[in-house]
């Protein structure tokens, strides 16, 4: 469905993303996981063709979506895809909705634009979708304004907008970060159901490894703008190959069963301005060798997945 190869993105002289590759098919959930500054949101924006909006451009690589290379797509064709066959759910539901417009018209607009429906048809569709998302009294909700809704409700409405044009691919950028834990569980379950019922492809971007474990089939781990490991979710958690992935899993607070104390990774996540030379993780890595300081590792297949490391494998 979507195959990204060697994606590189630049803003002026700065290269925040490089060598990012992953693929996703219908009915699959792909998790892109990383900490702040890892480039995961930037990846989502690149797929959506929104880079020019923020002053960026694609420098290398390709993004094959159903036969078309998105990197070569003209803006007017992109507009047909965006909100249509590719839907985006953004991080902050508080700011994704127009505060001055009622909810009904905002969701209707998607069907009108992308499916050519009339106002009445679009409204019927809106009510139906809101119902499937378990929003109570959808017909009444259409007449309300965003500020009258809670955070969880708003996020469901944003999801409704993403679904209204019957997309094949959904990109959810940290859809639950701003929500309470119990609401997050509901939204995650909702997304799970959607993927199953509609055979969607879902790219879930998050910093939370537990969410990934719960809901993803495949995982891409990003660090400093590079995909440093990827693979099926079971392999990533059972046998992580990259020292960063291993350390990241080790940072998750666990119950008493472990007995070990979590350590954290020494140092700090590098900012775009000072990505280290060679492997971006080497200053914080406990098995770094001189090669790691100069030669940047490339994402190479290993087992069921791929890893970008000179010395991959289980921790010594």
């Amino acid at each position: 469905m979507l195959q990204v190869r060697d994606l590189g993105v630049a803003f002026g002289a700065v290269q925040p993303l490089a060598g990012v590759s992953f693929g996703i098919d219908k009915g699959e959930t792909l998790g892109i996981v990383g900490e702040s500054g890892s480039g995961k949101s930037l990846t989502a924006m690149s797929v959506m063709g929104l880079l020019p909006l923020i002053g960026g451009r694609i420098t290398d690589g390709s993004m094959q979506f159903d036969g078309q290379d998105l990197t070569r797509l003209a803006e007017k064709d992109y507009r047909k895809l965006r909100g249509g066959r590719i839907g985006l759910i953004t991080q902050n539901p508080m700011t994704s909705l127009d505060p001055l417009q009622k909810i009904g018209p905002q969701v209707d607009a998607v069907a009108v634009l992308h499916l050519g429906m009339t106002g009445a048809q679009a409204r019927a569709r809106t009510v139906e979708i809101l119902g499937t998302l378990r929003i109570p009294e959808p017909a009444l909700i259409c007449d309300r304004y965003p500020h009258q809704m809670s955070g969880g409700m708003k996020q469901r409405i944003v999801i409704a907008m993403a679904l209204a044009a019957d997309p094949d691919l959904l990109i959810a950028d940290e859809p639950t970060t701003a929500l309470d834990v119990t609401v997050q569980a509901q939204i995650i379950r909702l997304l799970d159901d959607l993927v199953k019922q509609r055979n969607l492809a879902l790219i879930l971007i998050t910093h939370d490894m537990s969410v990934v474990a719960q809901t993803c089939d495949k995982v891409v781990v990003m660090y400093a703008g590079r995909a440093i490991e990827q693979g099926p979710v079971g392999a990533i958690f059972d046998a992580p190959q990259h020292p960063y992935t291993q350390a990241l899993i080790g940072c998750i607070p666990r119950g008493l069963a472990d007995g070990d104390r979590i350590e954290g990774i020494p140092g700090t996540v590098p900012t775009v301005m000072n990505y280290p030379k060679g492997c971006p993780f080497h200053p914080r890595c406990d098995r770094a060798q001189p090669t790691c300081e100069t030669v940047e590792p490339v994402l190479t297949p290993r087992g069921d997945g791929a890893v970008a490391c000179h010395f991959p494998g289980a921790a010594p």
Binding site: D180, V181, A185, H207, M209, S210, Q214, C216, P253, T268
Partner: protein, 317 residues
């Protein structure tokens, strides 16, 4: 083991004033909270937004005046203290704040921020101030060379360490931690948590740990208080205790395991947290609870200290 903290029936009501055109509204942010915090223990307070946990932290430190209830700190009744007595007592009970980005005066260097408690409380360190500051920075894992830096020059994790150093400068007995890692990356969070554990051992501290992250609280704390809309609905005596309150069970079910083999089935929980201004009568959780009865909707359950595992529910699990 003596209790460092004894809280009884602590409550706080906030009202937004009325006027000729607007009716006054009030909400009970914290409602009848009671618990003991023994010396050397770590108690976690967990709940979602609006549950009152942050307000509770501030009530205990008397940064907000309680509407009713008592707080005994080291045997002394905090609410009976005068303003200047409170100021002196504060040296013994400190707080680490949620937002490291605004917790330090942007115009103060790290050294000045960490040294400030001494000046305020009128104490002098044993050696020189510079040595004391260096020692404190070292204690929280910071390079003493950062003493001359400004907050905007250091990272979030480093800022939080400065906040911890400042809080511990006068060796308090109690440290209240209000979501200390909520705005930090996972890898940095782990560093800070590890630091806090080590400091607790080294300095014999007692912690009150506020968080929305149940897995973090389970990892870090000895006992757990679960709050919902201003009330403590359950007090877990240890972290492996099973949930007895339906809300706690929901919270646990919503907290995912970092292991794909342990995926949860998420049962749909309808509704959202009701507005604290318009609380329905009876149990606040009733309209979302899968096992609510008419009793639940009419009578508010109280915390029943049954066999060391108190729960506020008419039909505990």
């Amino acid at each position: 083991m003596t209790n460092l903290l004894e809280v009884r029936d602590l409550s706080k009501r906030f009202s937004s004033g009325g006027g000729p055109f607007r009716r006054a509204r009030s909400m009970q942010a914290v409602n009848g909270v009671s618990f003991d915090l023994p010396r050397g223990r770590v108690i976690g307070v967990v709940g979602e937004s609006g549950c009152g946990k942050s307000t509770l932290a501030r009530l205990i430190l008397r940064l907000i005046e309680p509407s009713s209830g008592t707080v005994q700190f080291n045997g002394a009744d905090l609410l009976a203290k005068t303003a200047s007595q409170m100021r002196a007592l504060r040296a013994d009970m400190q707080m680490v704040f949620q937002d490291p980005y605004s917790a330090i005066d942007p115009r103060y260097t790290v050294a000045r921020a960490v040294a400030e408690p001494f000046g305020i409380q009128g104490r002098t360190p044993k050696g020189s101030m510079a040595d004391e500051v260096a020692g404190l920075l070292d204690m929280v894992g910071l390079d003493p060379g950062l003493a001359g830096s400004f907050p905007h020059q250091i990272s979030g994790g480093q800022k939080q360490r400065v906040g911890i150093a400042r809080a511990l400068a006068l060796r308090p007995a109690l440290l209240v931690l209000d979501e200390p890692t909520a705005s930090l990356d996972v890898s940095v969070q782990a560093q800070i948590i590890s630091l806090l554990q080590q400091l607790r051992d080294d300095l014999d501290l007692t912690y009150l740990f506020i968080s929305h992250d149940l897995s973090l609280v389970k990892y870090f704390c000895d006992e757990i208080l679960v709050m919902y809309l201003g009330r403590v609905v359950e007090a877990l005596p240890d972290t492996s205790a099973p949930a007895r309150h339906p809300y706690t069970r929901t919270l646990m079910d919503s907290t995912f395991e970092p292991d794909p083999k342990l995926r949860r089935t998420i049962t749909p929980l309808e509704g959202e947290v009701p507005s604290p201004f318009n609380l329905p009568p009876g149990c606040a959780f009733a309209d979302r609870c899968p096992q609510a009865t008419t009793l639940c909707r009419t009578q508010t359950p109280t915390l029943d200290p049954r066999g060391g595992h108190p729960v506020a529910c008419h039909h505990p699990i």
